[in-house]
Amino acid sequence: MRLVLEKRLEQSQLMLIMTPILSVIGVMIIGVILFDALGFDGFDAVWQLFITPVIDSYKWRDVATKAAPLILIGLGLSIGNRAKIWNIGAEGQYIVGALSAAGISVLTQDLTGFWIIPLMLLGGMVGGAVYAAVPAGLKTRYGVSEVLSSLMLVYVSLQLLSYLITGPWKDPNGMNFPQTAQLTEAQLLPRELGDSGLPPGLLFALVAMIIFAVIVDRTVFGFSIRTIGEAPQAARFGGFKSNQIVWSALMISGAMAGLAGTLEVMQLTRLNLGFPSGYGFTAIIVSLLGRSNPIGVFIAGIVLAVTYVGGQVAQTVVHVPNATAGLFQALILFAILASDLIVRYKIKIKTNRLQVQS
């Protein structure tokens, strides 16, 4: 008797939905064992990490604040995932988007007007999209892998950030701290939606989810993305141009990362060296955990936001290290990649004996 993998004729739709859920549950179980082995109270650590942020309504604002950028970036990345174009550099596009918005804020420091906020949002999106156009151009023109070029551009963006906020854009009244000037009233969104306590970014995330759901499901563009990811030759036969799709998939994800960066600048009211938060990288996990489905990405964004908030809770309550949240995020990525095996293969127990009948 042995275990064998048998390729499924078609991907299991049930498993496609179940594996993200099973992955998270599996990671919780691994977490309990892992932290027990490390000498912590494993169950308590996992409880604080995954459950406390969900049941404690005081944590919801924190979760929503972190979920919004993850969802926005994750939605953008999901377009690329569907087309099998892998943008690993959303963090860079997030930073450049934030820089573009911050640049506009520097220029409009003394102005007022309803147009400033939309201009910043638009500027952030354009900045992110332009930054993502670099790997798109390299890929379509020279065949450079977008995985490498987009990732390397993250480090370029970090240098750009530190140059600008320690140099030209440094707050003149900031006592030489490396940061931009505080955003003015005319440059800020309201702190919360009505008096719900929820951040405005969440509304953006919700609207974006609906728009993306329509795009991927109902438009020829969404169809072309799906087709090229599934069968590039069939996409060509169908009259879809792969270069166009590379450009649009990368630039859409860049624009979404730029939008998330802009909202984050507005949230923090200024840019400083601590701005890069890793949302662009975590959003890769979000898009994969959400199976590149807009609703799935929304839920996955909340799950990953829970691990951020829960990581802080677990630090103070169970005294686990600072890196715990990142560890769990990585475990989730591992689990979701590994679980793809079940989507594409059946695990079967095989016996070598034949039933021979004469």
């Binding site: 078609e10 969404g222 169809f223 087709t227 599934e230 009259g239």
Partner: protein, 522 residues
Amino acid sequence: MTTNARPRDWIARLEMRSITKAFPGVIANSDVHLSVQPGEIHALLGENGAGKSTLVKMIYGIMAPDSGTMLWEGQEYRAPNPRAARKQGIGMVFQHFSLFEAMDVVENIALGLDSAISRSALDREIRAVMDKYGLRLDPRRIIATLSVGERQRIEIVRALLLNPCLLIMDEPTSVLTPQEVEDLFVTLRRLASEGCSILYISHKLHEIVELCDRATILRGGKVVATCDPRKETPRSMGEMMIGSDFADPARGVANTQGAVRLSMRDLSLPKPDDFGVALQSISFDVHAGEIFGIAGVAGNGQNELLDALSGESLADRNDAIRIDKDPMGRLGPTKRRALGLCAVPEERNGHAAIGNFTLADNAFLSARTRMGLDPNGIIDRSGAEAYAQAVIKRFSVKALGPRALAGSLSGGNLQKFIMGREILQNPSVLVICQPTWGVDAGSAAAIHQAIIDLANAGSAVIVISQDLDELLRLCDRLSVINGGKLSASRVVNEVSVEELGLLMGGHHDQTIASGGTHAPRA
């Protein structure tokens, strides 16, 4: 004990008794009996999906039967894996070859052997086997430089090196020129005369009549008849295979006089990749109401020509291709469709259709422009489903409905769907590559009829196929593509199979003749 007392020749080399094999949802073989005598060429005949492949996979140890017994020369026989089957004396030549393009013949054969043997000894053995059976091939040539027929010879040599007592050939002639088929038959007859049994899988009826001593006909996983092909006609065996009378496609009056609907002038395209073929100055016209055939052995530029016609690769000049006088050489597939040119590529999975997509999505893929399924860039879901349903109904596609995944259809049904998807768009020009590749005879007849109906309605149809019978039955005029060049066209009634065969294979015969003098490039 009684069996042992009989003369050895009376014992079947291989006997299968009550073999049953089921897969989830389908019974591939049900209570199958088959016996192959020593020195017999035995045909295994059936439509696609009749269970031929499953049956031989059980003989060759790739699968195990659910129930039933196999006897090898009277002794119970079981092959847990192909290695055991080879040890027993069974060789198999698969339809799809497993050869490494960048290696030479000897290296490829060495890779497939169960025991290690020195290169020089293997070289000698290969030459000995080739001499004995009249297989011409320089063992030091690199696979990438070989024609399909030559590649098949490698697989045959690989099987013969083991001195098999039973050789299984899975649809061996589907990729060969008529001359290559003749050569193959000579080799097979010679093997049989030396006592080797041959199990010959095919659905080409006239070949079986010509070659085989006995035929076992499978339909729906069951044996429906065992007969002597020499006493049957292709038609009678075809009816046994399909289980009903099948209508020969009815062609009206052949038409080569209509207005020119498609013209290609002096089209040249470079190789798309290392193993592709460059198209060299191709010119032809196709008239309204005409079916124009392009014959040729696989890999001579057929796929490149289809891509050039469908718009997947663009010509260097816009006037290289014209449809109803409109130049379109620089237009992509969507614009060409709008002008009236539809195409069916050879590869169904991943080119003409996507297995993981529903039939409605697959209908949308290529019919959206002409059928108006994408108003303002929004998918008309119900429109796509209705169109897919219309195709299913009109072409009797066996499918659960427009929401069934394309991958869940059998090859023949998917091909009918793809053909229907293009034909119902009422194209002015339809280009089809391998319309009935791997399609059962019943579906093939339906597809042929649909092609004829389209031509009779005034469209121009181009059929690119390796199946000469198909082209001769279907087309008004024929050209042959070889090495990326298209021959002058011939009217079908005035051309002989031999002449076409020479055109198809002439180039390759030259390379074979000079093959011995080539220094190995590696």
